[in-house]
Each structure stands twice: as structure tokens, then as C-alpha cells.
Symmetry: C2
Subunit: 260 residues, 2 copies
DNA sequence: CGGCGGCTTGATTCGAGTCAAGAACCGTGG
DNA sequence: CCACGGTTCTTGACTCGAATCAAGCCGCCG
């Protein structure tokens, strides 16, 4: 799983890159290296001159508040660009850090190489689209997060990560997250996340194991009112709530991807 | 104030467009029209084939939840693009609507014309940058919103809007928002927004008038822990919290803009 | 074996939502 | 000019979800 560019290829294709673009882009991805769980991939304020791509494992983008606690605003899965913002709006949003949540493999694209990639209009739009997708994720979380109960928020968060992993070819139902990670991402206390998870377990939505494992994704999606269209999911992963029926469409095994 | 392209020009320049780009872009902005306060600029699911630009007034982007209540995830000020996402990721995020909060003037850029604008690399990056700025705003709200008291959240929201308006040449301290708008944007109930605002009034941060008017922006920024750098504000609008001193830097009258 | 980080559980507090009812502020029409 | 209806703003009383504080537990690793 680690070390290949499989997920990155799927990602770029789904962003609209054609075969030539893809080859060019993959060639620009250089100097892969290993990061151990818990370590920073990018120290806040660092990373001048290159863009980081996650190839394997899981990571998160976060800021720290005055009290020093971590606020996760985004999770990263293989194929994700971790700091495109540093390329487009350099030096502005300096407070952002990226941390590996599992042992991870990352590589970089030098900004010099990025400039050349952007000469290809299709690729330029693909990168723009990547940012737009990121924005769509933020939007969704914003509308979903402020209001709504902890159960909904956590369920939504889990649905989103599972869906995003499928989109890049990772189809397991297990997420390598700690409850602390989820708490920092959902803006809830660890204690309350714990209690909420136990509710999900008694509902037979999550497994009783001490890690995150969805055993009833339809129900999870229903609780979350999850509609994956904002993630550019071609179909599936969409809850349809007609009247007050417990209807769920999609989720029929693996979601094919690779629209070009 | 309405009817000119002043704000749009400032915006595009700050996004890195040069004189030629600017002229070209402005020429692509067509068919200005008027929208009355409260009306939808874009009905959710509409707006195929063109991108909407706000030229005067104020608007918001929102989704509606199952209960039908409005969730504002973004305010728009003159010069803002309201639906770039429709161009980059068409048909995906269909649930988004844009509503005028005051009487407003908007115009459109046809997608056909956009395609030609994107042939100019600098402009392509400028549009990408616009999306990135939007994402940065979402990020900030995400980290700021989940946790933190209502006072902080509302203060932050107001600071952001004032700062963004200054960036496009609108320097008043008054915001044409209703408490309902703020509630829908902050994810708080109207009742609680009201009480919070009254706190801000007794602190002499907002005026006692029945509209939003900041009379002590330093204090407002301090309460909000507002650091405008994420908005690409060149300087000013930044709270520096050294030790536990009540220090505020910047905010010294008008902020110059127009870095190219 | 001992320590440390993550998970669980209970008790208590508090911020913010909800419900409800006035009051002030329009714009409109008689 | 004033009466009317609607929308926004205010204020009060009550409820509840989630934070915090405080232990105890479990599993892992040195």
C-alpha cells in the first residue's frame, strides 16, 4: 500500500488530468520520505518552495489556538496535497501545520516544477479543482458542524473519511484515528466523543473494538444525513430522506471511480 | 458606490492580475442587473453556464438544512465571485444558494469567456487564488467556530467582514446585516446573538444603534483574537497577544492595498 | 514491573437553545 | 396623518447538550 502512487493517480484523474498530464505530474513528485506517527510533516511556517503530497498513511492539517490545543480542520488521505496554499498564497496562512496520524509516506513537488505543470491548462484547472474540493469539504463541515448534535457531527466526519478513502482506492471500513483526533476535528471534548462513540456502538453502527470500524455504513450515513455529492462522488454514498422513511441509496460495495 | 467596478478591480489586483489581465477580465463582466434585498441572486441548482460577480451591496452563500433553515457559510462583498465552484466543479454542490442581503448589483461572466480568460496564466492563478482565499476563510471559521464562546465567534465574524470590505475599498464601520443573518452565519440562535450583541454594546465596542456599527475596532479585534493575515491583509488588523498584555497593533485608520 | 498515553465512567457546571411574549420599527394604504 | 401587519429586536424563564473536573482502567512498551 505504501510507496506506490496509485492513490495519487486516481486523485489526479478524478480531477480531470489526462494521461499525458498524469505522467508529467507523477514525474514531478520527488524525494519520497517516511514520517512516523505523531510527527509533523510540515512544521507551521516551514515548507517554503515545495508542495507536499501524501502517498501513504493518514495525516491532518491543524492550527493551534492560544491555549496550545490542536484544532484539526482537515484530514489527509493518500493522494492529497497537504499544502497547496503555500504555493498559491505563500507566507500568509503561516499558522498551519500538518501532522502524521499514522506512519506515513510523503513526497514533494518543487514549486519550480509546479510552475511548469501549470503551463498545461488542464493541469492548472485540476489543481484549482483540488482546492475547490477542499473548499467544498470545509463548507460542508461548516454547515454541518455549528449546529447539529455530536452524534451527527461525528457520524458525518467518519462517513466523509471513508468516502474520501474509497475515492482513492482504499476501501476498508476501518479508520486509523484516535478518539483524540476525532475530538480535535469535531470540536468536541474527548470525553463526549467517547460517550458518543459508545452510543454508535450500541446502535451496532461501529464495532465494539477499540478502534474506528464501521459495521453499518448505511445507518452511519443515515445518522449523519451524509450526502457525498459534495465530494464529487459519482454516485452512492447518498442518503435520500423521502418523507420520514429510512431510505438509503448507494453504498453498494465499492464505488467505481476514474471519470475522465 | 453601486454600478462601478472599483471593488472588482481592487480585488483582481490583489489576486495578482496585471493591467492587461485586469482590462480583459473587466471586459468579460457582462449584463449587470439589480437584485432587491432578500431575493436570491442564484437559486440553488441554477446558474448554469455563467459565473456571478457581486458589484455592489452585500450577499451571502447558504445551504438549507432538512428543517429548511438557512445556514450561511459565507458573506459576499463587492468584487467577490459568488459561484466559481459552478465553473470548476459543475453540478456537484447543487444545494448552494446565494441571497442578496441588501439591494445589490451583480453581473456575470459567461463560462465561454472564462475559458478565454484562463488562457492567461496569471489570470488562471488569480482565480485559483480567489478560491484559495475562500478556503482560508472557511478554515479560519472552522477553527474559530466549533470551540470558543459566542462573544468570540460574533466578534470574529464582524472583524472579518469589516476587514474584507476595507480590502476592496469600503471603509465604513457599519455592516448592513440583521441579527438573523449573523445568527445563521455564526450557527447561534437569534436570541443568543441578541444577548451577545448587547454585551458588546455595554462594552462600548458596538454602537447602541439598532444596526451593526463598530465603534471600537481594536477592542473588537482583541475580543475576537482576530488575526487578519489569513485574509491576505498586508498589515494591520492583527492582534498581538504578547504575554497577557492588552496589545493591539495595526488598525491605524485605513489599510492601504493594491500590492501587485 | 512500572509508567504513560489513550480509553471509560461518574458528578457537576455552564453556555446556548427553545419557548413565549412584548416592544420598536418599518412600509402601505385608507 | 394615523391605523395596520409584518418583520426584526428584546427580555425572561426553563431545559438540555456538552465541557470540565476527577478518578480509575486498560494495553503497550521499555
Amino acid at each position: 500500500m505504501m510507496g506506490t502512487n496509485e492513490s495519487l493517480s486516481l486523485k489526479l484523474q478524478s480531477l480531470g488530468a489526462d494521461a499525458d498530464d498524469l505522467e508529467l505530474a507523477l514525474k514531478a513528485v520527488k524525494r519520497p520520505f517516511h514520517v512516523t506517527a505523531g510527527a509533523d510533516v510540515i512544521r507551521a511556517g516551514d515548507s517554503a518552495g515545495r508542495t507536499t503530497v501524501l502517498l501513504g498513511g493518514m495525516a491532518c492539517s491543524y492550527k493551534r489556538d492560544e491555549a496550545g490545543s490542536r484544532r484539526i480542520f482537515s484530514f489527509h488521505h493518500p493522494g492529497d496535497f497537504c499544502d497547496l496554499h503555500q504555493f498559491v498564497l505563500p507566507e500568509r496562512d503561516g499558522a498551519i501545520g500538518v501532522q502524521a496520524l499514522t506512519d506515513a509516506v510523503v513526497a514533494v513537488i518543487d514549486h519550480r516544477d509546479m510552475d511548469r505543470l501549470l503551463d498545461r491548462p488542464k493541469l492548472a484547472v485540476a489543481f484549482w479543482r483540488a482546492t475547490m474540493l477542499e473548499a467544498a469539504i470545509y463548507r460542508e463541515r461548516l454547515t454541518n458542524s455549528s449546529r447539529g448534535t455530536a452524534l451527527e457531527r461525528i457520524a458525518h466526519l467518519l462517513c466523509e473519511q471513508l468516502a474520501r478513502r474509497e475515492a482513492v482506492g482504499i476501501s476498508g471500513v476501518r479508520l486509523p484515528l484516535s478518539q483524540i483526533d476525532v475530538a480535535d476535528a469535531a470540536g468536541l471534548s474527548v470525553v463526549h466523543v467517547n460517550r458518543t462513540i459508545q452510543t454508535l456502538r450500541t446502535l451496532n453502527v461501529l464495532s465494539k473494538a477499540n478502534h474506528f470500524e464501521a459495521i453499518d455504513r448505511k445507518q452511519l450515513a443515515y445518522i449523519a444525513k451524509f450526502d457525498g455529492r459534495y465530494l464529487d462522488m459519482p454516485r452512492g454514498w447518498t442518503v435520500r430522506v423521502d418523507k420520514d422513511r429510512f431510505q438509503t441509496s448507494g453504498c453498494d460495495g465499492h464505488v467505481e471511480h476514474g471519470r475522465v
